[in-house]
């Protein structure tokens, strides 16, 4: 009886592999297996600084961290107060401006999520995630 349950589970698990493999092939150009963010959606500190006034810096960290220190001119936009902060961000944003989103470090997710929501909910196209986040900015600027 035990062996039949295991055999059934193995068959189902193997069957599910087939369409999953097909889907992986279908999305092979759209999904990066190396990083959560496609290279085209990331930007280094140097490159972002080159953009100068053509870019808006968005701080995706919690309010306390933003209040403690942030990139000069950055606007706070975090998921905790998304509905409240998004209109403030949109008031500053103008078409054609690039958006650079950052959070604490390389391992944080907030910038990725905020960038995703800006693309999807606010329909913005030029949204980039800062490689290395606030830590990387600090290293290059202080």
């Amino acid at each position: 009886m035990k062996s039949s349950v295991v055999a059934q589970a193995v068959i189902l698990a193997a069957l599910a592999l087939l369409p999953a493999a097909g889907e992986a092939i279908h999305f092979r150009d759209k999904v990066s297996w190396r990083s959560a963010i496609a290279p085209s959606e990331m930007v280094t500190v140097e490159r972002a600084r080159e953009w100068g006034d053509a870019a808006i810096w968005v701080d995706a960290r919690p309010d306390e961290e933003f209040a403690a220190d942030h990139v000069p001119g950055a606007i706070s936009l975090n998921e905790d107060r998304w509905n409240e902060l998004l209109p403030q961000f949109l008031a500053v944003w103008t078409p054609g401006k690039k958006v650079v989103v950052y959070c604490s470090s390389l391992s944080c997710n907030a910038s990725r999520e905020v960038a995703r929501r800006l693309r999807k909910e606010a329909q913005l196209s030029d949204v980039f995630v800062l490689e290395g986040g606030w830590e990387a900015w600090l290293k290059k600027n202080r």
Binding site: S4, V5, A7, A9, L12, A16, K30, V31, N109, R116
Partner: protein, 202 residues
């Protein structure tokens, strides 16, 4: 002689009564069995529906459709159903990656694989094919999801499990946990029932 005749008559007269009682009992038992079968099938369908929804919500952007159904706007729901867009697997992969339990490439592989596994197991439940294997896999999946969201909560990670795609994006930890435990209870009950039936058949 007369006594013998009477005895024979009595015996003959009683036999049909006994038979009626027997067939009546069998009918009651059959009705009971049918009722319990229907109840088990309803549970099969409910749980299969939950997992099919869970799988599809990771593959398609169901947000507009769910919003329409929630507001009972069936006309709009039909239009949105026709315009269903495929969700990027990156979104679910990011959801898995947020747990910080597996490296990114594994998150991507799971994002491709898990929705299909859920759907195949749900179909197994619906059509009672590879039934106990499907139940076993679903129990393992729901246990892993529950442990993962609990571990994330303990580690202070403020994340959603992504178990039901965007639909569960704003669920609190207690509602996630309660939903998962209710599903787990249903699956375990079905598994035990199937095991008992198999034992009886042996």
């Amino acid at each position: 002689m007369a006594q013998e005749e009477q005895m024979n008559q009595t015996s003959n007269a009683e036999r049909p009564t006994l038979n009626v009682e027997l067939s009546g009992g069998a009918t009651t038992s059959n009705v009971k069995r049918q009722k319990s079968y229907i109840l088990w099938r309803i549970l099969d369908f409910v749980l299969a529906g939950v997992f099919i929804f869970a799988g599809l919500s990771k593959m398609f952007d169901l947000d507009p459709l769910i919003a329409d159904l929630r507001h009972l706007q069936f006309g709009d729901a039909f239009v949105h159903f026709q315009q269903l867009s495929v969700a990027s697997p990156v979104e679910f992969a990011s959801g898995i990656d947020n747990f910080k339990l597996v490296p990114w490439p594994v998150s991507v592989a799971l994002a491709f694989y898990l929705p299909w596994l859920e759907i195949f197991c749900a179909l197994g439940l619906l059509f009672r094919l590879l039934y106990r294997g499907a139940l076993t896999l679903l129990i393992i999946l729901i246990l892993v999801f529950t442990l993962a969201i609990t571990a994330a909560k303990v580690r202070g990670l403020d994340i959603t499990c992504g178990c039901f795609g965007h639909a569960s994006q704003h669920w609190s930890f207690p509602s996630h946990l309660a939903t998962n435990l209710a599903i787990l209870a249903g699956l375990v009950v079905l598994w035990l029932n199937a095991a008992a039936k198999e034992k009886r058949a042996d």
